[in-house]
Symmetry: C3
Subunit: 410 residues, 3 copies
């Protein structure tokens, strides 16, 4: 007699002595054989070729944490009404601290000596006042420059507003742009990235980009793809814009620093690629100008000063090229989890191949009934119920199942 412990021990022993493997039919038929092998090889080629080699499904992925520092260099000269002016970095870059997103001024409308007070509104072609009643006191128009005081200047048809006076006149944008010389400014980009999961730190000043190289190099997609110094004119050209046009109306350009690193290779091969995208700016030539919504890029800022105890300001409407440096870092490294997941999916897809082949085998081939017979064993127990019967049916199954097939409607 066996006690409980023995039963368990034997159960475990049994478990470790047994192995289940599916029984299979080996069909020897040229047509079905070739069809299925091609399907299976196709799936295998797909799993190995695409998932593993092309998409690198055996690697895990980490995105980068990046920091960008930019520095513009160059001097611009303007000559308005005979007055020569010089503009350096502290004058034409906004904001000044070298952010990854900044604006380079290329054109401007300057309104000097504004003070807070009352003056006539800028004249709009459409709406002119004829009497004070047209200038509702305290009201404010969405496109207006100040609060209306309720007074109408009859000679000109302008309402009086409470605002910074004189009102900026931005109806005519200087053409060509005042700072066309901005084309020759240079931009230096420093970028440090960290892949936290893989503990890898890289800078865009990679091996070979040292102090001497930086002194003279200028980025060129073919000749100097790793030089982080760009001519502003080149950036605009690379992004598909026309410099004169963008300089006049303003625009935005994205510089994508694309790090695609395979860390299974040496880290030296982890280098950035620079790509240039025109974000918005020049008008779509296929549309008329009046249809275009919001062309160009501009903003206003003011330099405040005190004169004889009064606060005054110089208002600048700045048209410029906005540059956004976008870091897109992706590192890949061998990892067991995605590898096994890819293999698991692959085996699953192999199952699809079997399903497709079985469909062909069991429904399309002339000898399909024979193969059905080989593949399936039928149990007829619903109407016969003795255990003995079942054992017998095992030996009768081929003939019986044939009969059941004829009876079954399909």
């Amino acid at each position: 007699m066996k006690n409980m412990k023995n039963i368990i021990t034997e159960g475990i022993a049994d478990f470790f002595c047994e192995y289940e493997t599916p029984r299979q039919v080996l069909v020897r038929n040229r047509r079905i054989g070739i069809t299925c092998r091609i399907i299976q090889l196709g799936v295998l080629a797909y799993i190995i070729g695409w998932v593993f080699i092309y998409e690198k499904g055996y690697q895990s992925v980490d995105t980068a944490i990046g920091s960008v520092f930019t520095k513009m260099k160059g001097i611009g000269i303007t000559n308005q009404n005979g007055e020569e002016q010089v503009w350096d970095v502290a004058d034409y870059v906004f904001p000044e601290q070298g952010d990854s997103s900044f604006v380079v001024m290329t054109n401007f409308i300057m309104t000097k000596g504004q003070t807070k007070g009352k003056c006539p509104e800028l004249l709009d072609k459409q709406e002119r006042c004829e009497s004070d009643a047209d200038c509702d006191e305290g009201k404010f128009k969405r496109t207006g420059n100040g609060h209306m005081t309720g007074k109408c200047f009859n000679e000109t048809g302008a309402c009086e507003v409470f605002s910074w006076c004189p009102i900026e006149d931005d109806r005519n944008v200087p053409d060509p742009a005042l700072l066309l010389s901005a084309e020759n400014y240079t931009l230096f980009v420093k970028n440090a990235i960290t892949f936290p999961q893989f503990k890898v730190v890289r800078s865009n000043l990679v091996e070979g980009v040292d102090k001497n190289y930086l002194r003279t190099c200028l980025h060129d997609p073919v000749k100097a793809p790793l030089c982080p110094i760009f001519k502003l004119g080149d950036i605009v050209r690379f992004s598909g814009f026309d410099f004169a046009e963008v300089a006049r109306e303003g625009g935005a350009i994205g510089i994508l620093m694309d790090w695609e690193c395979n860390l299974d290779l040496d880290v030296r091969h982890c280098k950035p690629k620079y790509e240039f995208y025109g974000l918005y700016g020049s008008a779509d030539k296929t549309k008329s100008k009046s249809e275009q919504p919001s062309v160009g890029y501009n903003f206003r800022y003011a330099k405040f000063y005190m004169e004889n105890g009064t606060e005054k300001r110089t208002l600048m409407k700045v048209f410029g090229i906005r540059i956004e440096i976008i870091v897109h870092g992706l590192a890949r490294k061998f990892d067991i989890i995605p590898t096994l997941t890819a293999i698991g999916s692959g085996v699953g897809i192999f199952g699809v191949a079997t399903v497709v082949c079985d469909l062909v085998l069991l429904h399309l081939l002339p000898k399909r009934d024979f193969y059905k017979n080989m593949k399936f064993k039928y149990t007829m127990v619903d109407n016969k119920s003795s255990f003995q019967q079942a054992v017998i049916s095992e030996h009768k199954v081929a003939a019986e199942s044939n009969w059941s097939r004829l009876r079954a409607p399909r």
Copy 2:
């Protein structure tokens, strides 16, 4: 006699003429049939319905690279101590260049004419000096406004500090906010996104949002969900804040531009949705004010000027609404890789259905021993070892396995 080449050729021919397919038992039993078909149909419905239709598992995903440009419009009027002042964009937006993150000033404490020098510290209720000994020379308090010089003003109990003088007095915040008229300012948002993988570029000025529409439209979640012009008061309301409160203490609001694009459809259907999140600002009414950590949003900035050769500044403590425009772009497009991965997983999950059904079949049904007998073929080779035996056992297996079952403890 065959040479090596012949053998290999025949091997390849053999490989292509053979096809293996698992042998299966076709159990005809109403109960188990219905159970298993329901499980299988459930899995099929899950794979097709959820993975494919709901989660769109047959598509690959790309995130957007986006650029945002913002422009505020509107004029604010303040009236402090009878002095009327006007504030325009160049006065109340920080920073000025139309970033995706910016602050609109709604309240302020202005300290005019500060110069570098020595003056009494701002009086704090808790700590008052009684003699010079209480004002350690050179020391600096975390909440102080300058370096203590070591002198105590006995009349008031304030230490003298070396700082910008006079010291800003920010103990009382103007209530109501000075620039409540900010409610009517409008914000225009321009957003360009690129899906680099799919080479698709979109702007939030989609089809239908043209120059004429922009002139008059105002964003409304229901009536004008695509208009990119927002009233500041609306933004605050949409995000769940009270304008008067946020204007006084400051706060931060996130505007999420959510692009969820199915690029299998026409690109015209790729439109942004605008969502508004209150990030921080108004106090949690369930807590007492003294418990609340760091309510509101404020910062200081200074306008510098020269007066009679001395550098002076106007210090502003600005309370404002900080707006952060967050672009979240996700495009999906049919791709063969995720499709096959999803199918592979699906087939795998189908395997789970088979495992569950087999558990029911082999362990729960009354005729489980019969089914076990049908499904499994037992080999008894451990004790019998001739090859002939094995061939014989094939014909005896039904009876024998029955016997092995009786012997096997389980």
Copy 3:
């Protein structure tokens, strides 16, 4: 006779009464049993242990939308040429509005009273002019400070340039840094994050970080890991830099706020971790200084003022510590889709175990031919074609397949 409807009904009834399950061979052999069970248990342990417990494959993932607000506090004192100066937040933080990326000035070169005009270029050791011919009119050197007018100052060898005059002399950087007292400035970071998919909002002022705690706490990785107030000197030290060095030349530091939240637990456990990364700054001591590309961090800005009707400016070359606060939020929560995908992959990987075991069983074991015979049923229909034959072959298959094996070359 049956009509169409009956046939379909019967077909459906048949479909629901049938269940297919693969026939399997149960091999009783100690060696193969143990091998296969170990492989299967290994796969099971991998799926449960790694995919489910370690990688939490049963959860779906959401990344956070975050907003950061920063505030510096502290007063700096400089003493240059006997002139004592005080610097507060409005003087040393750029930009002023509390962005997630900002610069704290620690050193500077100030050039007072610049006006637009003509003056000699800064003398460079390498290039000196000997006559006017060396100073090409209208030309501009990449490292120059203005447009050359074509005149050479023979005494000094400097070309005359049209620029802001006098030219800034940045050949000597103040050493030690002028604002070493910046070490004691404090930085307060407020961070609100939203997991839009899970509708969870959190702030870094978590439970326990209230008004009283904030008044006195100072971040310490061990003692106060949740205090969001940092001493600037600590930040620099945590990131691996030397304060004096970084203060002199400038540098950049990333503060990573890492939110890894398991939302299957209480939301109170969703807390940020603060990590500090030196992005760039101090020189690599293993290289000579002349080899180092672009060490440090600096930028220029100008304070403009009017003096007697002329626009003047004070140019600052600012060396500072740039701090970038990077929010990395990842929340995980149970989701049925990834769970089922993981199970599906797991079942697929189980298939791999079967494939490996079969390889062992059919090709490595001594009794492999016996097992092949058990596993496979062979069809010989290519040369025999009557249906009757097939039925017969079913009964002959064991003997025949043995013969086919002997004939088949492998």
